[in-house]
Symmetry: C2
Subunit: 485 residues, 2 copies
């Protein structure tokens, strides 16, 4: 039986002792900033700076070599220049370090010399030390007190989402964007050239990891296709895996080569992989965020019958187009329900067949509530999307008196109440209605409303197109999982 | 020879006298709010409120019927209930009113009775009065002092973009979103059921209108396909026409029917129309904004060879994927240029083949400037996109000292300088890096930078995907126009 990945990775994600090789006192050097960043982030274990010339770093005793450290070392971060990395890693092995992250770049992604250096690293790793990188940002693990080099200000809160990112740039952009959406990570690993620990090892770990409920990733290439395929099949039966695959075009594949030296693979092969394993394919960081949020907030949705309630006829048309394109054609309501809705919406400028158009982005309460009650009572829809109803006050409106505020607040609560009453998911679409710094306050107001919904467990999307695409993928995951049990 | 549309529409867009039929003193009634809105918006002509019961409205003398007004009337707004509209319109005709907008809804989009009423309106219009609507928001024309009912706070500045919107909801949403992007309108017309003035009349007018340089629209259906087709072919040779066609799916077409009672038309027919006329098809309000901005800010771009400069390897991969998918495959740079770039970017973690990855979202000046100089000097690219380089300060960063500010400002100016120096368009991608109200200030900072670029004539996009899709369509327009001259 294979060793549990949980035990093997424990000293890597939760090191009690952490050697920083290439540490420095100078904040203009990477080795200085790295160690400061970790201290400020709040690492609770013991640091052991390693530097051949400086005897003390930020008040801590420094050691010329990792082998000079008198205590056992769980984890090492390697920041020295590429040509010295193989030797330093050999010393880590000799010291009995359990795992190392090599942040340094300039390996197989660069030139022939780099390829040689990387081979030496691989050989050392095989002798008994797990290696992340090189050419990466390494680990962000709030509970372990570790963060990636640009991640000093990332959330210290731990969560249920794991992220594997072959790119360092997205390794920081992903958790930054996720932060304001309330998405929290158990661990994020930027693993770069993946000379040893790769996407498969990480998948295995996160499969076992009780902290992790949702696995997300930005992947440029996989080292072992068949293993990845089999693993995904297994993992997707237990936990959703959401993958943004970079480099699916010719130009993208070329960029992948000079980024992490990965072989990108053909688009058709990846298409088939997603279809057969049930992994959720997304395209770009926005879709990655949307989809993560859906899995985080929503219970399984197992049917494709949606209702859209919107504020204005054109919005209803756009809603119908967007949903149908995404594979969620809106069912026409039964005549009886249509009749009931006609008694609720305005006599003119509204429509009731589905989408329901309440005639204006400002439906007077309790119209929105009554519409949702009628829809959930009089139809079999699996879920309801409220799209482009104004839920924050309008900037520059002189009429924003108390009764307007009261209206807004009643409308704001209606979707939560409907979800709680009928036990069916309600989803919000709150678009950015304004642009430009002049309207910054209007955007702040919109964000406060979005925050409110997300705190209440209601996912919020910026456009109905994005909502529909995300929900369709979300449902596909559950369909696949049900079919493969 | 047909009468010039300019002369015919002059009293409609720039009325010297304006009768408001169904005006009221009560702000809880639509007829009260409408007249207040126009006054506050700054109409400079003379108002003539018409109301059968009230002798005075907001201090102005009111008339029981439009025919009771002692002066000639250019334009009438009709707000009375649907059943009375045909009679009121007959009175307008008798009075010699040149044009009327019927805001009231409840016609052919509603029921059989509404269809009858609408036929009566059409018959009156044929006798010699031009009619906008019914079931619409009518006209927004800043220079004429007219605004749509929810448009009291729309910009009073006139611009070069015209908009025809069959939807009232988008009639207000479109100019609201456009405002902060610096997009200003010559005229916007929400024309609803288009019983008389329709998309073709408006196209003809905007073709002649010297104020209008770019024509945009949200259209649900056209009344006369062949005329629309021939017109578009003609207009697109002189002015770009950007159209979002709603209702291209089955569900969308159904929603169109109950919204403006239009026949939506088949998707393939519309595809062919766009291809053959050169009109630019967009999908959704975001794409409409992006494309309008491109035409407003950019000179014609007549080649598809782009360069992307980005801050991070993963971003380069995403850039290459996005550009290739949009039909702008990035050309690999000549070896000589690659060599030159290698001397500018960091030795590690960068790439130079195109996309150019400067290794980090914070390239130290003058790196960005040097890269752009080298690219424009050493290649034949038609245009350059700067993607995801941090141009606003980072919230929660304790290192935001003066030198950081200085760095930011140098990087911010570099794209403008390169454009001016080489006379080739430079495009910015400035994504929303944060979510949530906690990060509202970071978004404000981003918007200030975006405003700066747009004021400098540089279009700004939120994602590289959106930039690439927009630019590809923009170039297609110029290709088509060149081919059809």
């Amino acid at each position: 039986m294979a060793i549990s990945k949980l035990a093997e990775f424990e000293p890597i994600f939760f090191p009690k002792t952490h050697a920083v090789i290439g540490a420095s006192n100078s904040m203009t050097k990477f080795g200085g900033r790295f160690i400061r960043t970790q201290i400020n982030f709040g690492y609770k274990g013991k640091f052991f700076p390693v530097n051949r010339d400086e005897p003390e770093i930020f008040g801590m005793k420094a050691y010329p070599r990792v082998t000079d450290i008198p205590e056992p070392i769980d984890f090492a971060t390697i920041l020295v220049p590429a040509p010295i990395v193989p030797q330093v890693l050999e010393e880590c092995l000799a010291k009995g370090v359990k795992g190392a992250q090599i942040i340094t770049a300039g390996f197989s992604e660069r030139d022939e010399e780099g390829i040689k250096l990387e081979k030496a690293i691989a050989a050392t790793a095989k002798k008994g030390i797990r290696v992340i990188g090189p050419n990466c940002f390494g680990i962000y693990c709030p509970r372990g007190g570790l963060t990636i080099p640009p991640g000093e200000n990332l959330s210290k809160e731990s969560g249920s989402v794991a992220c594997i990112s072959q790119s360092g740039g997205y390794g920081i952009r992903i958790p930054r964007r996720a932060d304001g959406l309330g998405i929290r990570y158990s661990k994020l690993v930027s693993y770069g050239n993946s000379v040893d620990i790769n996407e498969c090892d990480l998948l295995e770990y996160f499969y076992e990891d009780p902290e992790t409920k949702i696995i997300t990733g930005y992947i440029e290439g996989v080292k072992d296709g068949p293993r990845f395929f089999e693993l995904l099949k297994k993992v997707c039966k237990e936990k959703p895996v959401i993958i943004w695959k970079g480099g699916l075009t010719e130009g993208g594949a070329r960029a992948v080569k000079s980024h992490t030296a990965s072989l990108s693979g053909q688009a058709q092969v990846w298409d088939a992989l997603f279809k057969q394993t049930g992994a959720v394919a997304v395209n770009g960081i926005d879709e990655l965020m949307d989809t993560t949020m859906a899995f985080l907030k929503l219970p399984p949705i197992k049917g494709r019958e949606f209702c859209v309630v919107g504020g204005g006829g054109g919005i209803g048309v756009a809603a119908a187009d967007a949903c149908e394109k995404a594979g969620l054609p809106l069912p026409v309501f039964p005549r009886e329900l249509q009749q009931k809705l006609l008694g609720i919406v305005p006599a003119q400028g509204a429509s009731v067949r589905n989408p329901v158009d309440v005639g204006s982005p400002f439906p007077p309460p309790p119209m929105l509530k009554l519409v949702m009650d009628a829809v959930f009572t009089g139809s079999d829809v699996d879920s309801l999307i409220v799209s482009e109803i104004e839920m924050s006050s309008v900037v520059r409106s002189p009429q924003a008196d108390m009764s307007r505020q009261e209206m807004l607040s009643q409308n704001q609560l209606a979707p939560i109440e409907a979800r709680n009453k009928f036990g069916k998911p309600v989803i919000m679409v709150l678009p950015v209605e304004s642009n430009g710094s002049e309207y910054a306050e209007s955007e702040s107001a919109r964000r406060r409303v979005a925050d409110f919904y997300m705190q209440q467990g209601v996912p919020v999307f910026l456009t109905l197109e994005r909502a529909a695409i995300t929900l369709s993928r979300f449902i596909s995951y559950w369909e696949h999982r049900d079919a493969s049990q």
